[in-house]
């Protein structure tokens, strides 16, 4: 196996009601609790889970947009958890983001050209002219025309805006793109165009993705491996085909129980387990999934199952006491 591009180890992130002079009281939100995973060069790891389970928080913490409350991030073996300023530059250059809301992610006051050029300006790449050429090239790569450089974000359609966001992300030839639900705000017809583009980019440029989604069809289309999150933790981590064929965590199973997915026989969109998601301010003891779990036994409410390999499939992990039972 190749050396991982990025490794997260025991990442923890809490949100506290911010302390001001007059503060509105609020309990601590345990958004991400000790999550570990890694992404290899050129690999796409999909991160799935219900709304509010901490996907965005995890991605942003790993991308060093939020300071971690615990754990470390290693990039090409180097610990970047505490890196700042100059030390962080290579990381910033190699890791780029694509956001869910293609409108919110583009500064409304900048032209498309300025938006795509910004990473080049920040990292002092080339001069004004060469940057212009590079921007035109990037816009062509994502299927926009260079003539659109002088337009403002609101003059583009949703899909075009997301292309713009992607053009900005690839301008510096990054190695990893953290994409947070990049297509879920788009029309279904546009979704497949953007997904195709992203997959082609990965193929042509050897890009790796940390790809957040809650659409299993998207996972099926783009992912090499899948991490399933529940209440701030990864409960199952597996290569895609094995996961679809034989999910081992009861939570993964309920996610998949629904509409058929072409080629894999199963598809779920937004369908999850019965019952309310417990609040991340008050995570159940034992296995966090046990109150909603159809397979739960007494041990589940007392003992927390670690994320460990499944018998006979060392590359797959699940955090369930019954991980070795096939469906």
């Amino acid at each position: 196996m190749t050396a991982p591009l990025i490794e997260a180890e025991g990442i923890t992130k809490r949100f506290e009601a911010s302390g001001g002079l007059l503060r509105r009281s609020g309990p601590t939100v345990y958004a991400v609790n000790g999550v570990s995973f890694s992404v290899a060069p050129g690999e796409t790891l999909a991160l799935i889970g219900e709304s509010g389970c901490g996907k965005t928080t995890l991605a942003r913490t790993v991308a060093r947009l939020y300071p971690a409350d615990g754990g470390r991030v290693r990039f090409k073996g180097e610990d970047v958890t505490q890196a700042r300023g100059k030390a962080l530059k290579p990381f910033r250059r190699a890791v780029q983001m694509v956001f869910q809301d293609p409108y919110g992610a583009l500064d409304p006051r900048l032209t498309a050209g300025a938006i795509v050029a910004e990473p080049l300006v920040i990292h002092r790449v080339g001069n004004r002219r060469s940057r212009r050429d590079r921007v035109a090239e990037m816009m062509a790569t994502v299927g926009l025309s260079a003539a659109q450089m002088t337009r403002y974000p609101h003059e583009f359609s949703g899909g075009q805006r997301q292309r713009l966001g992607i053009a900005r992300a690839i301008a510096l030839d990054p190695e990893l793109i953290v994409a947070d639900e990049p297509v879920s705000a788009l029309d279904v017809s546009v979704q497949s165009q953007i997904l195709n583009l992203m997959r082609d980019l990965a193929r042509d440029r050897g890009l790796a993705y940390l790809f957040i989604t809650h659409d299993l069809a998207v996972v099926n289309f783009i992912a090499d491996r899948v991490a399933v999150m529940y209440l701030g933790e990864i409960v199952e981590l597996s290569d895609r085909d094995a996961l679809f064929a034989d999910p081992r965590h009861p939570y993964t199973r309920t996610l998949m129980r629904a509409v058929p997915v072409p080629g894999h026989g199963k598809r779920a969109r937004g369908a999850g387990p019965a019952g309310e998601v417990p609040s991340p301010t008050d995570i159940p003891a034992g296995c966090p999934f046990h109150p909603r779990c159809p397979r739960a036994e007494a041990v589940c409410s007392t003992e927390k199952p670690p994320l460990e390999p499944i018998a006979g499939q060392p590359q797959r992990r699940a955090a369930c006491h019954f991980r070795d039972e096939a469906a």
Binding site: P108, P153, H154, E155
Partner: protein, 316 residues
Amino acid sequence: MSIREVMAAEDGVETMPRHESMARLTFARFLEHRMAVASAVLLFVLVVLVAAAPLFAGALGLDPNDVDLLNRFAPPSADHPLGTDELGRDVLLRLLYGGRVSLIVGLVTALIAGLIGTVIGLFAGYFGGWLDALLMRITDSVIALPLLPLLIVMAAVDLGKLGLPPDLATSPETSLYRIVLIIALVGWTTVARLVRGATLSLREREYVLAAVSQGAGSLRIMFGHILPNAISPIIVATTLSVGTIILLESVLSFLGLGIQPPIASWGNMLNNAQELIYEAPALAFYPGVLIFLTVIAFNFLGDGLQDALDPKALRR
């Protein structure tokens, strides 16, 4: 002033129109605000008039500082359309030249104060933490202080004791700069609070996160991404503050602590009004009316801009 500030601070972030079509929409909304349009017209006329002051002076063949002791308190005539004051100076010309000073002091001070407030608000909102706590405590304290007595003290300071040469320290021009400086020193609070509020909300926007993830530095993010998107509350607050500042300048000049004669300002034209009130009540009338009209016009203009730039916010 403090009520205005608290209200303004509670209005929070406004969004700015995004492009030509939006700009046209904004303009259309502004036109709907009749008082604001009337105010804009009034201010425009006023600016043209005071800008043309030298033309009036040429036409009358007079200088605003020409003293004519034989012709004191003259009633309006062809030579002196609004009569003369206690030194026989032409009232109309002094009003026009005084208007230049009052308007320029108001605008320049508002711009400087707006600049200070913007920087303080940006830093407080962006960096948060102890810096925010400190800056906001300072802001609240300045808002809370009894400003007029403090301004009087600062206006009374002997600049000679700060090391300025005596003739410079007491020159009328210096009084102009001094008034701009000290009012700006206390006038930045509204803008600071508004910009801080806007920054707090804008820094969570995804395009700011995007810039951070690309490795943009704090200054780039503050001045390149947050400030341009926070411009509309700044415009509104700065416009509103012009009125407040003109009022402050006029009262200080009236008390003899602001703009020093022979430079005329609407405030110092009222200097002797109280003693002369029995002899020449009209002398007290004109400058006050002009101050009042100018200030109310800036206030309506600010209201109109607020409505136009931020249709979602509670009107006025």
